[in-house]
């Protein structure tokens, strides 16, 4: 497996995401950049210019016509995927931390702002219309996650108009998007929740934390599986078709200069999702991995790291033949 290295950003990569078809790979970075590359070759296809601050989070609608981005310039923007034109801008008074289209229809979007500049962490549900001119300024719903849960670092749609958030103190919470009511919350981790990714069938999700663990939780926030490494985990993803989990992380960025590349363990690590056993490690980055995304077909995966590079790994045939257990698909 020879990865394709894409020098995508001049500052750390914050998020990589495949579109539903898997032909495009979207990437956002702290250099205010939001770009799209070919997932097959790593070729740069276009940029979405306009943000004036760190782009924290991005999402793509299922038919890849539109993208949404969250930025520390206190805006969330809706883009036309093919042209890079801004279709709509939502302006907040605090940095925007997370964005997401609602699953399936993408007729709503979730925007979560940071607890910064004297503002509380706020979740905003906005309506998305086919004609950008029809998008109402007034959001559908606004609610404030309870302050004792600490600010939300990541927010994703769950099934049935629910929203799942990961908080600074390690809590995962679940909300009703329409009423803003808290359905459940539970302290799951001992540190920052760094990522939250749903399985394709929406029956469970994987969340990762700075406390060096990643966990699979069901919709009622029961821990189903735990994967632990020796380093903080910044991102965890589940492979479709294969019962595998990929986690990425490494020595805290603040300590990187004092540790060698080997000691930092800047590796993507493969666990068997059910058996919890680690079976593969992929090295290459020389700084912590910030984000991991798996191709919708499970044929490749991409990691984005603190150094600003993406590494697109097209998995070898051997990987698909490999079975840790005879029951493996």
């Amino acid at each position: 497996m020879r990865p394709i290295v894409v020098v995508a950003h001049t500052r750390p990569v914050t998020r990589v995401k495949y579109n539903r078809d898997g032909d495009l790979l979207f990437t956002a970075g702290k250099d205010s950049g939001f770009k799209v590359v070919s997932s097959a070759t790593g070729e740069m296809l276009g940029t979405y210019d306009g943000h004036g601050g760190v782009v924290w989070d991005i999402d793509i609608n299922p038919d890849t016509t539109r993208c949404i981005s969250a930025s520390a310039d206190s805006t969330a923007r809706l883009w036309e995927a093919s042209s890079g034109k801004v279709l709509h801008t939502w302006t907040s008074i605090a940095p925007v931390r997370s964005v997401a289209f609602n699953p399936g229809t993408a007729d709503k979007a979730l925007i979560v702002t940071d607890k910064k500049m004297g503002q509380p962490c706020t979740a905003i549900i906005v309506s998305i219309k086919d004609n950008p001119a029809d998008i109402p300024e007034e959001p559908i719903n606004i609610f404030l996650p309870d302050p004792e849960l600490t600010p939300a670092l990541i927010a994703r749609w769950g099934p049935d108009q629910t929203i799942y958030m990961g908080h600074e103190n390690g809590t995962i919470s679940c909300w009703d998007a329409m009423s803003g009511e808290r359905i459940a919350s539970k302290k799951i981790f001992g540190g920052f929740v760094t990522d939250l990714q749903f399985a394709e069938d929406m029956t469970h999700f994987i969340a990762s934390s700075k406390d060096c663990s990643a966990k699979i939780l069901d919709l009622k926030l029961h821990t189903i599986k735990t994967y632990t490494i020796e380093r903080p985990i910044n991102s965890a993803a589940m492979c479709p078709h294969k019962e595998h989990v990929i986690v990425g992380g490494g020595q805290d960025a603040a300590n990187v200069t004092t540790t060698g590349a080997k000691a930092g363990k800047f590796e993507s690590r493969f666990f068997h999702k059910i058996l919890g056993q680690e079976f593969m490690r992929v090295r290459g980055h020389f700084s912590p991995i910030n984000t991991v995304a798996v191709h919708p077909d499970g044929t490749s995966y991409t990691t984005g790291a603190e150094e600003g590079n993406l590494r697109i790994h097209h998995l070898d045939p051997d990987y698909f033949k490999f079975k840790l257990d005879p029951r493996d698909p």
Partner: protein
């Protein structure tokens, strides 16, 4: 009844009846309060024994001489303070003294002073005074002639079963144990080959400082603020406590009989007769204690020298023990070696060995020759067993030959049993450094060598006592260039021949092969200068280090090599048996490595060069006898592969192309700080401890080939120590037999291994099946739940 306890007075007590009242009341408190102290009227009186026997005439003269002599010591005697009993025992009933005198001193203080200063006073050539208190005479006279132990020390405490101290050696799989100290917990683990270690005992707060094994593995010592705790037997019960406040270091004697402890705090003063502390008044201010391990009794305490206390620099172990614990010794102030005898704890021959300038010494390890008697017995047995099987003459001849060869291989002790090696560095320009071997208790120097400009040395005895090596740091005459010379003495050869190897580089590590004739050295090409200090140089820089393996060859006679045909045949036939003087030879060097330490397998042959701490944990495994095996294999294959050709009169064998030293693995345990072979030489444990590194603390287990067997991460790992094993009880012959038939012995273990791994497989399969079933159950339920919600929505 307690004083003034009126609650318990009988109700029908008649208060008018004094006698009844007295019987009922307890006056002990009043009695104690008004007790009159017993006055010793004889406290100024001493009985002086050993006084010349004189007659009436010389009596007063004697008194005046004694008075004068005592006055010199500042002791005053009362005017008529002499009382000397006389008896008519002389010729013709003449009154003669009895050889003792009662002396009444001016004050009790005078008597005390006399007792202190004039005890064993030499009055003249023939007379020595013995002084005793008047009261003591009565006391000593009352001691019964028969020793009554029960009356003297009381009944023996009931026997307490302490358990079996070598329980761990009975493990069916012959596994070894590791004591691991991490966070606040000490765990005793079985080291497993194919799976993670198994916990035997795990206790939080087992120690406050660290833990240490005794040399034969019987005891685990834990260090606490108040002293040392000793643990042993199958349940790891506490066996003994050694109360030594602030104890910092401990050291066992080689056979586990004695324990030496050191505390930076001086022992506090205790009153005479106070038995609450294990030490007495004479130990006040001492820092070092020697204890009897089994009973927990303090045998003797030692003071440190003023310099050691001032500089806080105490070499540890302070005392070095001889192999049989008969002697222990230390260097005092670089001026003398003091040797003490155990168990008496007394200075050997009441005097130290004066060696001005001495900086280093060590005891020679020694293995007694197999007793003549047992050897003879064995011979008889061998003869008996071989006779029925090999009655032919040829068979006998073969046996005899074998016996002779065995005797030649047998190591014989040429040295006395107790030998000290010491080093005295060069002083001035004319007194070269001294390397010497001294026999004890005779104090005879049995071998000596002078080395010019030797400034310092380390002494490395071969663990079996075959050799001694002095690593001497030297300079040239001008003092500008420094170098190191290794001075090796062969102790199993007559006159202990010496050889020398010199290094221009700095030596960072040295080790003898424990059972062989080789040693390994690691050198660095770096030299300390303005940018790099000596510590950094010793820690090593990658690519600057060289690993060497040397061999010490014994003097021997080489038989002429039989040569088949060829041009050199005639010349070879002429060549007679050659005498080889022996010496130190380089076997192999490996340069540009990232290693700074060396670890031989306790059974020899295998060696690991490691780059610990700064060098990030490079581990290089070597087999020093790989060539030997290859040659054997070739010979077994029919000798076809060993082709001998003669080139220009020198013989070249193809088998020589097989490297004698083979690298088995070049691997890494990233950040490793420590490394240790298990006591059997089967495994290597590398560890990353929290003292050197904050993250990734844990242990890796390797086999001799450098294959990683398992990893056990341990947060905040402080110590990981293999439990030592006592030496084998098998005789040399038995060991030889096992080595020869290793395959049949190994089979049993192979079968057990196979059975275990299949068992492990079955358990693992079962576990995995369970995990899969749980997962499938979870998924189907979760999917059903979602579908149910969707159905509800569609209905609505």
């Amino acid at each position: 009844m307690a004083p003034a306890d009126f609650d318990h007075l009988p109700l029908d007590l008649d208060l008018a009846d004094d006698a009844a009242l007295d019987a009922a009341l307890d006056y002990s408190d009043l009695e104690a309060q008004f007790a009159v102290p017993e006055v010793d009227h004889f406290e100024t009186v001493l009985v002086v024994d050993g006084v010349p026997v004189v007659d009436e005439a010389k009596r007063d003269k004697l008194f005046s001489v004694i008075r004068k002599q005592f006055a010199k010591e500042g002791v005053r005697i009362k005017e008529h303070g002499f009382d000397m009993p006389m008896a008519a025992t002389g010729k013709g009933g003449k009154l003669m003294s009895k050889g003792y005198v009662f002396i009444d001193f001016e004050t009790p203080a005078d008597a005390d002073l006399a007792l202190k200063n004039l005890q064993l006073f030499k009055f003249d050539k023939a007379h020595t005074f013995f002084l005793n208190r008047f009261k003591d005479v009565e006391k000593y006279a009352a001691v019964p002639d028969e020793w009554d132990e029960l009356a003297a020390v009381g009944p023996l405490p009931p026997f307490k079963e302490q358990g079996f101290f070598r329980d761990w050696l009975l493990d069916q799989a012959a596994r070894d144990q590791i004591a691991v100290f991490n966070k606040n917990t000490v765990s005793l683990l079985w080291s497993n080959k194919d799976k993670a270690p198994e916990v035997v005992h795990e206790r939080e707060g087992w120690t406050e400082g660290y833990v240490a094994w005794s040399p034969k593995g019987s005891f685990l010592a834990s260090v606490h603020r108040m002293g040392i705790g000793l643990w042993g037997n199958a349940a790891m019960d506490r066996l003994t406590r050694f109360h030594h406040p602030g104890v910092r270091f401990l050291d066992f004697s080689p056979l586990e009989t004695y324990l030496v402890t050191f505390s930076p705090e001086p022992l506090p003063q205790v009153a005479a007769g106070d038995t609450s502390k294990p030490w007495g008044p004479e130990s006040a201010g001492h820092h070092v204690c020697i204890w009897h391990v089994r009973t927990g009794r303090l045998l003797r305490s030692f003071a440190l020298t003023a310099e050691e206390i001032a500089t806080k620099n105490v070499p540890w172990p302070l005392f070095k023990w001889s192999w049989d614990e008969k002697y222990f010794a230390r260097i005092v102030a670089n001026a003398k070696i003091t040797v003490y005898e155990a168990p008496a704890m007394a200075l050997l021959d009441k005097k130290s060995i004066n060696l001005p300038g001495v900086t280093e010494f060590d005891w020679m390890p020694y293995t007694p020759d197999e007793d003549e008697e047992t050897a003879a017995k064995k011979k008889a047995e061998e003869a008996a067993s071989s006779t029925p099987n090999t009655p032919t003459k040829g068979g006998k001849g073969k046996g005899g030959k074998k016996g002779a060869a065995g005797a030649a291989n047998e190591k014989r002790n040429l040295t006395p049993a107790h030998v000290l090696a010491y080093f005295v560095p060069q002083t001035g320009t004319d007194n070269p450094a001294q390397l010497a071997l001294m026999s004890l208790p005779t104090r005879q120097i049995i071998r000596q060598k002078q080395v010019f400009f030797g400034l310092g040395a380390k002494i490395h005895f071969h663990p079996a006592g075959d050799y001694v090596l002095f690593k001497v740091d030297r300079t040239n005459r001008s003092g500008k260039a420094s170098f190191v010379s290794l001075e090796v003495f062969r102790l199993r050869e007559k006159d202990f021949p010496a050889d020398s190897v010199e290094f221009k580089e700095i030596i960072t590590a040295f080790a003898w092969e424990p059972t062989g004739n080789r040693f390994a050295v690691v050198t660095t090409t770096d030299t300390p200068n303005a940018d790099i200090d000596i510590k950094t140089v010793l820690a090593g820089a990658p690519g600057k280090m060289t690993a060497h393996i040397y061999e010490v060859e014994a003097a021997h006679t080489e038989a002429p090599v039989a040569k088949r045909g060829g041009a050199g045949a005639a010349a070879a036939a002429v060549a007679a048996a050659k005498t080889v003087p022996g010496g130190v030879q380089l076997v192999k060097s490996f340069d540009r490595r990232a290693v700074n330490s060396v670890f031989w397998s306790p059974k020899g042959r295998y060696v690991v060069f490691a780059g610990l701490r700064n060098l990030q944990g490079v581990l290089e495994f070597f087999d020093v006898d790989a060539g030997l095996d290859a040659a054997k294999d070739a010979a077994a294959a029919g000798g076809a592969k060993v082709t001998t050709t003669v080139v220009n009169g020198t013989e070249v064998t193809a088998s020589k192309s097989v490297e004698r030293v083979a690298q088995l693995a070049n691997t890494e345990h990233h950040g490793a700080t420590d490394l240790a072979w298990d006591p059997t030489g089967r495994y290597v444990l590398s560890t990353v401890s929290m003292w050197a590194k904050g993250a990734d603390n844990g242990m890796y287990l390797w086999d001799v080939r450098g294959t990683l067997l398992n990893k056990s991460p341990r947060e905040a790992l402080k110590q990981a120590l293999w439990r030592p094993r006592p030496p084998t009880l098998l005789s040399k012959a038995k060991l030889k037999h096992i080595r020869k038939n290793i395959k049949s012995y190994a089979r049993e273990f192979e079968i057990a291994d196979a059975a275990e791994s299949s068992e492990l497989g079955a358990a693992e399969v079962e576990r995995r099946r369970g995990l899969f079933n749980d997962w499938i159950k979870f998924r189907s339920q979760a999917l059903l739940a979602i579908e149910a919600v969707e159905e509800v929505e569609t209905v609505m």
